[in-house]
Amino acid sequence: MLSIKDLHVHYGAIHAIKGVSLEVNDGEIVSLIGANGAGKTTILHTVSGLVRATSGTITYDGVNLRATAPNKIVSLGMAHVPEGRHVFSRMTVQENLRMGAYSLSNPEQVKQNIERVFKSFPRLKERARQIAGTLSGGEQQMLATGRALMADPKILLMDEPSMGLSPILVKEIFRIIETLHAKGITILLVEQNAKVALSISSRAYVLETGSIAMAGNAAELMEDDRVRKAYLGV
């Protein structure tokens, strides 16, 4: 459903993405792993339209995303949970969720979606009127995820959801990702925590300084010596 072909991205003179191609099929969890600075976030930002590509193609369900304004991309069924959560810290939990549903025009549906998110994240319901900036890191990650779900996405781009969380919370977040996947949402997962990411993915890509170094079945990559050495720390 999401297909990237020969993507190049520059930041001024910096050639950050050098000919990346990747595919995410309906119903998959695909992870994109790589060291800090490899270009993972840049790829997600380019897909969502926050960063403009120099060349290459990005299509989603047959739509050319490079020619689509970022604010139109959500309504195509794609939502993005950004690195570092980026909740609206001066707005309440509930207001954050409403912003997630900005692309929906039916207020009834927004209400239903809020109820649904509250069901999946009871902690957010308890804190509905709390200012988001006062939530803990784990709660903010849940809020950022819940906010993305408000748009009824078919595919979710998640950028380092485990960043800065305790091991228990990392487990919790990954359990949530698996639940979402079980509900039929396709997921493109960016992680530095390769071990956990590979364990829930069907396929994975390894990104090194802007190029795909390896790609394939997640279980096989986990057995690969290079991956084990560079990303799994064994």
Binding site: S48, G49, L50, A69, P70, N71, K72, I73, V74, S75, A79, H80, P82, H86, V87, F88, S89, R90, M91, E95, R98, M99, G100, Y102, S103, R147, A148, A151
Partner: protein
């Protein structure tokens, strides 16, 4: 007139002037909140609104309609001016330049509007026909109470809009985090344009309140009004909406009280002509004690 009556009268006058400042200050603070720009042309939007009133009030009267309904024309003219200034001048600079070049563009837009008005309408003041003709109430002019009432209604309405409507919430989201707002599907440039439209529309209402009192329009009228409202916005905490309202009222009351009392209290040593100096001194003192303004948090958090 006894002392207490004089004092109350000055407070009420202060609230009247203050509500004009507050509405103008809202425009400064909304624009600052959303694009971190001090829109120096904002004061001149009041002048644009005032000329719009000057031309449409007679038309309204001729058409047998209440003169104040000219404010709707003024709101539209100001909103269009604000959006055009943003689109044609600020947006291109924002995309390419630094904060400093945006600031200089804003100063340039202010001069441009003032000179344009002078070219089109001349430099001599124009008399605007009477807009409200209200009776005295408890010894105060009815206009004064009406001005305060309009100010209160507009401020309450604005607060409710920003707090509860989808567009108002999107304005807050964009002011906090533009990238995240784009990811939500918010048209960020559209929301910025809306902010300019609303801020300029409020300036048009301020024009009505001002012109209804003084009946006069000049091409430079926005510069001192704008400066004081800017002081009000900074005093309350720039970028913070309730701060702009509070700052406007405080500046209005301080100005009114200092005009009335400074000469008697200093035995005529300092005259009421110094009231502006006092207003600006208060700003300096408050900012020394609380650099982020009365309602500002000192961690740079802005709404």
């Amino acid at each position: 007139m006894d002392g207490l009556t004089l004092f109350i009268q000055q407070i009420i006058n202060g609230l009247r002037v203050g509500s004009v400042y507050a509405l103008i200050a809202l425009g400064y603070t909304m624009v600052y909140g959303i694009i971190r720009l001090i829109n120096f042309a904002h004061g001149d939007f009041i002048m644009v609104g005032a000329y719009a009133l000057f031309f449409t009030v007679p038309l309204m009267i001729a058409a047998g309609m209440p003169a104040w309904m000219a404010v709707f024309v003024a709101i539209i003219v100001c909103a269009i001016t604000g959006v055009l200034v943003e689109k044609l001048a600020y947006r291109p600079v924002r995309a390419k330049g630094t904060n400093m070049s945006a600031l200089i563009t804003a100063i340039a837009m202010s001069l441009f509007l003032e000179n344009l008005a002078q070219t089109l309408f001349g430099a001599s003041p124009k008399q605007v026909k009477t807009i409200f003709d209200l009776p005295m109430i408890f010894g105060f002019s009815g206009n004064t109470f009406l001005t305060i009432a309009i100010g209160v209604v507009v401020m309450v309405g604005h607060s409710l809009f920003v707090k509860y409507t989808k567009a108002g919430q999107a304005m807050r989201a964009v002011s906090e985090d533009k990238s995240a707002s784009k990811l939500m599907g918010i048209n960020v440039n559209g929301i910025i344009a809306l902010t300019f439209a609303i801020g300029s529309g409020l300036a048009a209402i301020a024009s009505l309140m001002y012109v209804a009192q003084y009946n006069q329009v000049t091409n430079m009228m926005g510069s001192m009004l704008g400066l004081k409202a800017f002081v009000a916005a900074v005093l309350g905490g720039i970028g913070i909406i309730p701060g702009a309202m509070l700052g406007g009222l405080v500046i209005g009351i301080v100005e009114s009280l200092s005009k009335a009392y400074i000469a008697p209290l200093t035995g005529g040593l300092i005259t009421s002509a110094f009231s502006d100096a006092i207003v600006f001194s208060i700003l300096i003192v408050v900012l020394l004690v609380k650099p982020a303004g009365i309602m500002g948090k000192n961690i740079g958090e802005k709404v």
